[in-house]
């Protein structure tokens, strides 16, 4: 029982990271209206940026966070320029395959630049363990959940209270209508894409801290998680995507208590398929909308 409870805590913590990934992914998909396969690589770049900052500037978590955000922001701009901007009016699969190509490009360039071996990301946060009854919570887990919650609140405020955030939401709902009321769709879409990527980068950093390692091919597993979470949440709905991420984290960690840890990815995926069979559009519900 204690074991399961602890796994539940681990699941929530990991789910929080997945939720952050899924939030970033949903923002990208919502704003650009196109599905991306580069998100894993964006997160990987975020993780590496923070790794180098930790290495050269010491273990300042805020500095690492900003660095990860900035690096992924720049990559996001590149992704936008190469994979989206020219294909807004073309069939969907063209930009999709373009993102597949771009993710191959970044992943292999990263292997060349950063080396193929795993890099340790140690002692960024002091490794203290709190004991509350039978439950053990580490400092890292607390920090991760706090960062995720803070970012989520920040984003909510940005989307709902600021002009730029409202413009982003307008663009993600209807591009031509946004265009008609005087929003610069291309610019807004790019900023939205970059914000989504930046959040992804921070998620990548948290992932590196949580697993205490980062490596060039870490993106592919992470992007699977981001996909699954955001598909669970209905692709474009930010809040439901976060919920989806949380679910996947918990399910995974509960799943591996009953079997071997190597089936972790399989659990998340099977859960996704089950949900999709029952609810084709994930958790999200749009009441009364015309199909």
């Amino acid at each position: 029982m204690e074991y399961i409870l602890n796994q539940l805590i681990n699941g929530v913590c990991q789910g929080a990271i997945y939720a952050l990934m899924a939030i970033g992914y949903s923002v990208v998909v919502g704003v650009t209206g196109m599905v991306t396969f580069t998100h894993g690589e964006v997160m990987m770049i975020g993780a590496f940026a923070s790794f180098y900052i930790f290495q050269y500037a010491g273990s300042h978590i805020v500095l690492g966070l900003l660095g990860a955000f900035a690096a992924s922001w720049i990559l996001g701009m590149l992704v936008y320029k190469i994979c989206y901007e020219h294909f807004f009016n073309a069939p969907r699969h063209i930009s999709l395959i373009c993102t597949v190509g771009f993710s191959m490009l970044v992943q292999n360039l990263a292997q060349i630049c950063f080396g193929a071996n795993k890099k340790p990301v140690l002692n960024i946060i002091e490794n203290r363990v709190f004991k509350i009854g039978p439950v053990r919570i580490s400092m890292i887990q607390v920090a991760i959940v706090v960062i995720v919650l803070a970012l989520a609140v920040l984003l909510t405020v940005y989307f709902n209270r600021t002009r730029a955030g409202m413009a982003l939401r307008a663009v993600s709902q209807d591009k031509s209508a946004a265009y008609l009321v005087g929003i610069s769709v291309k610019k807004t879409a790019m900023i939205g894409n970059c914000i989504g990527c930046g959040i992804g980068g921070v998620a990548g950093m948290l992932m590196a801290i949580y697993y205490q390692t980062c490596y060039a091919t870490m993106g592919s597993t992470m992007s699977m998680k981001a996909f699954s979470s955001s598909v669970l949440g209905g692709m474009t709905d930010v809040r439901f995507s976060a919920l989806g991420g949380l679910c996947i984290g918990v399910i995974e960690n509960l799943g591996i208590t009953f079997s071997s840890a190597s089936f972790r990815d399989a659990f998340a995926f099977c859960f996704l398929i089950l949900v999709l069979i029952i609810r084709p559009h994930g958790f999200s519900v749009k009441k009364g909308a015309r199909p």
């Binding site: 599905v35 190469i82 699969h93 191959m104 292999n108 996909f227 990815d265 995926f269 996704l272």
Partner: protein
């Protein structure tokens, strides 16, 4: 580039039979021209990938479903062959179709949850399924040998004639590719092929014309998976040793890039793509990881300049939605109909 391709197409259209005959003869005598063994191995790969990329093209190019996890079906076929032939010594010729059928069943299972969904969900599910298949192959040690893989997969033999050299495998893959192309060209010109293409062009209209889209999407998926399974089953004895790393997502992307570069929705596309990509693989082998960088750049450039691929028609839905205001000449249209 366009004019060159169109010129080649025109000449091909006018002397189709002659061309095909020359190509077949060339392919038949090719191994006897005194190539090195390593060159013949490359030819084997090219022919194998012709069928494999072709099978993916059946899904992506003809019914417009974007499948990314073709490596998963490939994996199923290969492991079916490897396990059953090493454990029970079942003949290659029984296992070849069986590998296809197993992959087909998995294809059916994968397609069921996506029938009610649109495009991208299918891509993600195929990608995930391919990963799950690989994870299971890696971790189910009692069945698949885990990370050690399966060794000593027996070579196929037919009546005392053992297929053991690359040259003999060359003919095996050639026969497979020809059978695949022959059957597929018949299928896409039939009622089922037209139904697939109508789904690619406009699913709502297809429904209104009483095409049972779910049935045809699933059957299309199963058809593509079947051939990928056959490829896997034929490829396992050629390698003699398989493990789960052969069937990673990168392999899936590799197959996808062949289809894209060659041209989706055409029978010739995957052949051109397979030849080009495998050729590049060999040339770029010394530069290691840069090879994948080159692929990636090639895919992106292809999407920018010729989204329909090298041999794809510019007036197709795959070319990016630009309608060329031109009419096909009657002769060309009759030939393609």
């Amino acid at each position: 580039m366009n004019t060159l391709i169109n010129a080649v197409k025109k000449v091909y259209g006018e002397h189709k039979v002659l061309f095909l005959a020359v190509i077949v003869v060339l392919l038949l005598i090719l191994p006897f021209l005194g190539f090195k063994k390593s060159t013949i191995r490359i030819m084997c790969r090219i022919l194998m990938y012709c069928t494999l990329a072709g099978s993916l093209n059946m899904i992506n190019g003809y019914s417009g479903q974007t499948c990314i996890g073709q490596a998963g079906f490939f994996c199923i076929g290969a492991y079916t062959m490897a396990i059953l032939s090493t454990r029970f010594g079942i003949s290659f010729w029984i296992l070849l179709p069986l590998g296809g059928i197993m992959a087909m069943l998995v294809g059916l299972i994968v397609s069921i949850p996506t029938l009610r969904l649109k495009g991208i969900y299918l891509s993600i599910i195929t990608m995930g399924a391919s990963e799950v298949i690989r994870i299971v192959a890696l971790n189910w040690e009692s069945l698949t040998g885990g990370s050690f893989g399966i060794k000593d997969i027996p070579r196929p033999s037919a009546g005392g004639f053992l297929v053991d050299s690359p040259m003999k495998f060359y003919y095996l893959f050639l026969i497979l590719a020809v059978i695949f192309l022959f059957i597929s060209s018949r299928v896409i010109r039939s009622r089922a092929g037209r139904a697939w293409m109508s789904i690619r062009e406009d699913e709502l209209a297809a429904k209104a014309l009483s095409v049972q889209t779910s049935y045809y999407k699933a059957s299309n998926f199963m058809y593509g998976a079947f051939w990928a399974g056959i490829c896997g089953a034929a490829y396992a004895p050629y390698l003699q040793y398989i493990d789960s790393t052969v069937f990673s997502l990168d392999e899936g992307f590799n197959i996808l890039s062949m289809v894209i570069i060659g041209g989706q929705g055409t029978l010739a596309g995957p052949i051109v793509g397979s030849a080009l990509v495998n050729f590049l693989t060999e040339i770029l082998r010394p530069v290691g990881t840069w090879r994948f960088v080159t692929y990636a750049l090639l895919i992106i450039i292809m999407m920018w300049l010729r989204p329909q691929g090298l041999v794809g028609a510019s007036d197709s839905i795959l070319a990016g939605g630009r309608i060329k205001m031109k009419s096909k000449s009657k002769k060309a249209a009759k030939e393609s109909a």
